[in-house]
């Protein structure tokens, strides 16, 4: 039944909608439209398959077809320039356990996620916010699993670098002295 299988995922749909659209009003509209579309086409859902992934696919299509026209403003982070594991290298002497993460508040984490380019943001949200396996993310975003892997890698690394820069700026962690 829709009430039992789909409705419990309303929060997940809202969280992803919020990160896709970038604002609460649009996220609410998107969530409502997604849930109602899903409700009306419930007969197409194959029982026993992943209801959350099904809903998130409807959400993504609704967003692309009806909402993306109003493009999001704001700066996007360049994910191509990020080198692997540089933050870890930089904090190794001062904070190898990554305690500085604890000082960063939720809103700043979400803002940093919002600055990722769309395809990287959606991959990271589906993985780290919603905990979906790579294969499900590949299905929802219509790309091969290899692309999910590389997008997730770059998204996580770019986000980490951003959070690290932010932590330095806020004085949560000291910048590593440049080697002489």
């Amino acid at each position: 039944m829709f009430e039992e299988e789909a409705l419990p995922h309303l929060d997940a749909v809202y969280r992803v909608a919020l990160r896709l659209s970038g604002n609460e009003t649009q996220a609410e509209d998107l969530t409502q439209e997604t849930m109602l579309k899903a409700y009306r086409s419930w007969s197409q859902y194959r029982e026993g398959t992943n209801a959350r992934a099904w809903l998130l696919t409807i959400l993504r299509n609704t967003f692309i077809n009806e909402y993306r026209r109003t493009r999001r403003m704001g700066p996007t982070v360049d994910v191509t320039e990020v080198e692997s594991f540089t933050v870890f290298r930089d904090v190794q002497e001062v904070d190898p356990e990554g305690r500085f993460f604890d000082d960063i508040v939720d809103d700043d984490v979400l803002r940093a996620i919002d600055a990722l380019p769309e395809e990287f943001r959606e991959t990271l949200v589906l993985s780290d916010v919603e905990g979906l396996p790579y294969a499900e993310i590949a299905k929802i975003t219509e790309v091969p699993v290899g692309t999910v892997k590389s997008r997730l890698f770059r998204a996580r690394q770019a986000l980490q670098a951003q959070l690290y820069d932010y932590a330095i700026e806020m004085g949560y962690i000291k910048k590593r002295e440049a080697a002489e």
Binding site: L10, D11, V13, Y14, R15, L18, E28, T31, Q32, M35, L36, Y39, S84, F85, F88, V91, Q92, P96, E97, G98, F101, D102, I104, D106, V109, L110, I113, V125, S127, D128, V129, G131, P133, Y134, K149, L152, F153, R156, L159, Q160
Partner: protein
């Protein structure tokens, strides 16, 4: 007894680290990473740093739920569809 996992180097561990932490590797590939981590302190340190990071992301981003008002609105719309036309 099974064979020892194939030895892999640090570069390979770094390349597969996220897949390893996300539980996306096959048992065989995962055992290779695990075996390397047991003998390599720098990779173990990196692995635990990245684990902290991923848990931090999960903890900070999974807290928001849909507003109660929205839930009510959706339920109402399901039960008594409005004709907007």
């Amino acid at each position: 007894m099974t064979d020892r996992p194939r030895a892999i180097d640090c570069a390979e561990v770094m390349e597969r680290l996220y897949e390893y932490l996300d539980g996306e590797l096959t048992t065989e590939r995962s055992d290779e990473v695990k075996a390397h981590l047991q003998d390599c302190a720098p990779c173990t340190a990196l692995s635990s740093f990245e684990t902290t990071y991923i848990r931090f992301l999960e903890a900070r981003t999974r807290t928001r739920n849909a507003p109660e008002e929205l839930k009510k609105r959706i339920l109402k719309e399901m039960l008594f569809p409005q004709d907007d036309s």
